[in-house]
Amino acid sequence: MSRPVLSQETPDNQLPPTEKDGLAAESTPLSSTKSASSRLSDFLKNFTSNRKALAGLIIIGIFLLIAIFGPIFLRQDPNAFSSDALQSPSSAHWLGTTNLGQDVFTQVIDGTRASILWGLATALIATFLSVVIGIATGYLEGVGADVLVMVINVFLVLPGLPLIVLVVAYSPVRGPLTVALVLAFTNWAYQARVLRAQTLSLKARDFVVAARASGESTWKILFWEILPNEIAIVVSGFIGTLIYVIGAAAGVEFLGLSDVTTIDWGTILFWAQNNSALLQGAWWWFAAPGICLAGLGAGLVLLNFSIDEIADPRLRSEIHRKPRIKRWSLIPVGKVQPAP
């Protein structure tokens, strides 16, 4: 539900970005006669001139910088207690303090690394599973493939969050690794189904038939011929999964089902909730980690929208343009406002 098939659209992207910026003379988007390197530079040009992509990349870049370099600049131990309990934001404590006098700003910066790293790891495992199983079930035939398709469908309908709660409750080790593994194993199925459908349609194309006829091995066909043609779906699926698992991991930690002594955005929220920060009016305690989660989510959503638009030109031309030309010519002027 959260991953739109069509890209959302603002007036900016109705024209290919290059035309809009007056660069039309330099490049025709994605034309077939170009060399690989100039096609790559076209892609990059498309990418940087797409405002959504740029905004998304900047947001994600900031978070990545914080995750990589943030802890180096911290002067305090994020766990250090102090006598300034439950202080509201001030020049000494930019984001206020917890009930034990820990500095919320230090904790949020320190927690960024863990939140992003575990989110990336989870999404990578889930994407790996979906790619292998999705492509294999799309291309191969036989009992094994049928069983795998069944597995995909069963995983699609099993309720994720309750399953996580069940597994974590019985798990001897509660920690980010458990959460990451369970989230990865419950979130690959949707993407696998999308990739399977795409593989099924690529299977009959000439280049695949030719590769098979020339005696290439099945593995080579799967990962050298088919996979490169699905890379846009894989990437946008990866980002969609990343958005979901970062939020879900924070939710699981918020419930106290992970290791609550490690510091990241979810566990800060857990401690805030556990010490009823809300009822004490300590809004700063849960504001910052939530804003970080929302901000990173928004950046990833923007990036995903723009990848859909850029990587799949059909989304731009056929689906967006055609209805426009056909429709507006028939609507009485004044009743419906066409987009400017």
């Binding site: 959260s2 959302q8 099993l158 709660v165 958005i243 849960f286 929302a294 209805p323 056909k326």
Partner: protein, 323 residues
């Protein structure tokens, strides 16, 4: 008919998987958390209850398949064991008390958000570039990208704690006796407003985007152009011609959302301390109440599977091509 049988077969398989997962997970756990608990309850429980607990946790020297068979037989008799926390209430009774709350809250908010979101999506596709399309849609999509529990916390803080418009926790006012009186119902509504409202707000964007994108595709179809050329009323073309043919993906989405929302009720009910299945599940985890935990998981899994099955049926009726 063949379609129907295939679907029934598939869902039976899925139910079997859910039941088996429920059987296997406690037995995979090393260190046997149950044995420790059993020791705690020895002397408090009668031998029969102890025996049924033993079956449930696999503290048994029977081979695994015998245990599995016994577990299935117990399930078929509707015997989910005895809750530790609410001892000696059977798990099925605890679940029975909690489920009306969850069903009402989740059901009402899901239906509201489905109807409103779909209608907004229709309007957004029909009037491209209008306020609804270019402002409301991105705003609601953004709301959907925020982790739900945090959105709920913010609303609770602002509308409940700061402005005192809504109560901070619970499903009803404990000062008023539980009955069907109008006073009591009024407190139920005021307590339910924030939980339901936040669910609606968080999920509107998804419905809206889905409907809008599907409708943009149908708008380019010839029969829509034809309907307009005939000079039919705008509302008729919009709803009967375009929206009706674009709603199918949203109908399947409804089932998928049901799964998400039943699971998601966990977070809603904990943030608002609202009675229900999710809150009970949370309590069960905190208190190591394994029978209750497993009973609730099984129930949620069944509910989601049945919802998906109904959606498949609806899809089959609405779109004969899939049959």
């Amino acid at each position: 008919m063949k379609y129907l049988l295939r679907r029934i077969g598939f869902y039976l398989l899925a139910i079997w998987v859910a039941i088996t997962v429920n059987f296997i997970i406690p037995r995979l756990a090393p260190g046997d958390p149950a044995t420790a608990l059993m020791a705690r309850f020895r002397g408090q429980l009668n031998p029969e209850a102890l025996h049924s607990l033993e079956l449930q946790f696999g503290i048994s020297h029977d081979p695994l398949w015998v245990q599995y068979w016994q577990y299935l037989v117990q399930l078929l008799h509707g015997n989910l064991g005895v809750s530790f926390t609410y001892f000696p209430t059977p798990v099925s009774k605890v679940i029975g008390q909690e489920i009306p709350w969850t069903l009402t809250l989740i059901g009402i908010s899901l239906i509201i958000s489905f109807i409103v979101g779909t209608l907004l999506g229709v309007i957004a596709a029909w009037r491209r570039g209008s306020f609804v399309d270019s402002f409301l849609l991105p705003l609601l999509s953004f709301m959907g990208a925020i982790p739900y529990f945090w959105l709920a916390l913010v609303f609770l803080y602002v509308l409940g704690f700061q402005l005192h418009w809504f109560p901070l926790n619970g499903g009803y006012d404990t000062a008023i006796p539980v009955s069907w009186s109008s006073d009591f119902l009024a407190t139920v509504i005021s307590h339910g407003f924030l939980p339901a409202g936040t669910i609606v707000l968080a999920s509107l964007g998804g419905w809206m985007l889905g409907m809008r994108n599907a409708m943009i595709t149908t708008l380019s179809e010839d029969y829509v152009v034809m309907a307009q050329a005939k000079g039919l009323k705008e509302s008729r073309v919009m709803l009967i011609y375009a929206a009706r043919n674009a709603i199918l993906p949203n109908v399947t989405g409804f089932a998928i959302a049901l799964g998400f929302v039943v699971g998601g009720s966990l977070l809603t009910e904990i943030v608002f301390s609202y009675p229900g299945i999710g809150f009970a599940l949370y309590q069960a985890v905190l208190n190591n109440d394994y029978p209750l935990l497993q009973g609730i998981f099984l129930l949620i899994a069944l509910a989601v599977l049945i919802a998906n099955f109904l959606a498949d049926l609806a899809y089959g009726v609405l779109d004969p091509r899939v049959r």
